[in-house]
Symmetry: C2
Subunit: 132 residues, 2 copies
Amino acid sequence: MTSSHYTIWYNVIVDQLTDVLTALSHPTRRAIIGRLANGPARFLDIAEPFDTALNAVTKHLRLLERAGLIERRKRGREVIISFRPEPLREVAGWVRAYERFWNERLDRFEQFFENRTITTKKPHTIRRRRNE
Amino acid sequence: MTSSHYTIWYNVIVDQLTDVLTALSHPTRRAIIGRLANGPARFLDIAEPFDTALNAVTKHLRLLERAGLIERRKRGREVIISFRPEPLREVAGWVRAYERFWNERLDRFEQFFENRTITTKKPHTIRRRRNE
């Protein structure tokens, strides 16, 4: 087996997807996204509900910003932070590529019960067969 | 503003989603998933294409296993590692909750060009309007 076999999937580069998944991998950062999805907010409004140092919140925001998931704007003296959804598309795309794997497993699971119900002739099985 | 405002989104618990996103946040681990999606493999087959110490690969596999994304089975003397897709469903579900945000942005973007092309009457605009 040569390493050329792996060139397609051996794609070890530090990319935006890595930054985005890293940003999403902490529950506090997902909670901040949840908050900002309701609308832009000031730094202190974001930090308030968390029982962590402001310093820690600043670090979380920095990771979210690096991933392109938030942006900061100055409004007078205040900094307004808002949610940018676009980088999540890449995550959705990556996960979607594996969707067939769990669908296949679900299909096998359903088929197992389908076969069982056909032999026992439960009413909902008859309904399903009529629609086919 | 009281912290009770935030009880819904202030859900900072270390959960499976955190484990899964942490596991996905490294390109090597995503590459390992890509490899195992093609079929189960032995440890050395997985480690071979990576220019890292076997020790590092072991650590990556441990994180994937903790997230429930892989499982190990003994076959004689060998350990066979296979892909478990189910935990990715939770990631898909989390991202899907934000899908409307990027769709809304895309809609606004498309509407902008739609309005532009209607005034300049490009051929593809006419085709689109016929299909409506």
